[in-house]
Symmetry: C2
Subunit: 259 residues, 2 copies
């Protein structure tokens, strides 16, 4: 995987992680959170499938600071995943994204990238990865930041059994019911429950969690993971009620709870 | 998080990922899979809690090639997590590991490290992380490789909802029952099921999966993730039966399936 030379006539699909600071005013140099190995490979690619073309160009500009790109920004082929994939999720949308693999079938290595973190994890892209396997295109994930994983490790919750639930329902009654059902499952099995929320609803979700969870359940809020302003708090619900801090409405937060 | 200067009288607990090649004869340089930011911080630490002291010393020797260590290997304080934590899992063991945090309470930054990958994820250590939160010791996860996450991203399975199940039962009847119950849940909810096995049982687990799963279910085997010899195959069960490759009995494999 380390050499850019092609061993088969087909190109490969590299999963290129992106730093988690794409919304921030100040950004640390990429080597802070991206291995040299990942940056070198990303710099050699010039065919991209992405969540958002603008943020992909911004990422390429940051990579160019560290390593010269294979070609200038204007010549990079950057194609966005179809909108349906974003809205419904890759497999629920039932879309065929195999057409996006044309460059790989013509022998070009390609990169899949999302706005932040690992593509195809809590982000669109898995339909393209699936199409790559089906087309015999080798899939190579590169190491980089992933907020879910960093949050789980830092939560003090069970990391030997866990589930990522995506977003909880927005309707208050449905959300409370879902929280209680997940908590029941977590207390029975020991499985850590992980989920995310749109930042401006962080506060509402925390209120809902404190209103629904049992006092003895441990709740972790991991905000701005991997950034300089990162804050990770893991407390029992009873202690959150006493001294918990309200998450910022602009910060991406990973929520997790369990026994 | 970037500066080694202490902002409080307490030290911090850094979660230091390790490369996934600790069992390999040939090892790539650490910058291949570890960000400069993580390596710089790890090099500055001299108090460690770990899964295995020998592999921690081996990791420190590899870090020393890239950055000078805070002190020579002989002076590094390396303490292993208690054996019960390994055997039963951190929270099932019900152990109090807070005593291991003594250096942090005295003002020393500490590192938690496992043999491979992210500590406290599919590996021991979460009881120490929990104790750190309870003692007011700041917990800072560093970016690095994690086989579960890389395998999930590269599987083409649903990355917006997934569960890590740890190990499946060894008893054949119980294992078949568990596989079928997980598949039923996966097909109903769309949740990807992820699990691991001891390498010498890879072949037996694959046989059990092919014997229990439905032909239309997609099964991914991700072997030697992040290494040069990495092999990731994602096929429907019917295709595994026709052309699937038997995993090597020495390779760590992440298994995943879903609709």
């Amino acid at each position: 995987m380390n050499t850019p030379a092609m061993s088969s006539p087909k190109g490969r699909l590299f999963l290129v992680p992106a730093p988690l600071d794409f919304m921030c005013d100040t950004q640390a140099p990429l080597p802070q959170v991206m291995p040299e190995g990942s940056l070198l490979i990303a710099a050699q690619l010039s065919h991209w499938v992405c969540e958002n073309a603008k943020s992909t160009r911004a990422l390429l500009k940051r990579i160019a600071v560290v390593h010269p790109l294979a070609c200038v920004l204007q010549d990079q082929r950057i194609v966005e995943l179809p909108l349906q994939v974003h809205k419904k999720g890759d497999h629920a949308a039932g879309l065929d994204t195999s057409g996006l693999l044309a460059p790989a079938l013509q022998g070009h290595d390609m990169g899949l990238v999302s706005e932040a973190g690992m593509p195809a994890v809590a982000d669109p892209g898995s339909s393209l990865v699936r199409a790559a396997h089906d087309a015999g295109v080798e899939v190579i994930p590169l190491v980089g930041p992933c907020s879910l994983l960093l949050a789980l490790a830092a939560s003090g919750l069970n990391g030997q059994q866990f589930a990522f639930q995506g977003y909880l329902p927005q309707d208050a009654a449905q959300r409370a019911q879902r929280i209680q059902s997940l908590e029941k499952h977590a207390l029975k099995t020991g499985e850590t429950q992980i989920f995310i929320e749109t930042p401006y609803r962080n506060q509402a979700l925390l209120t809902a969690l404190l209103g629904s969870l049992q006092d003895n359940t441990r709740l972790c809020l991991a905000a701005d993971v991997s950034l300089a302003k990162m804050k990770i708090h893991s407390l029992k619900v009873a202690d959150w009620k006493k001294k918990g801090q309200v998450p910022d409405k602009h910060s991406p937060v990973v929520f997790a709870f369990g026994p």
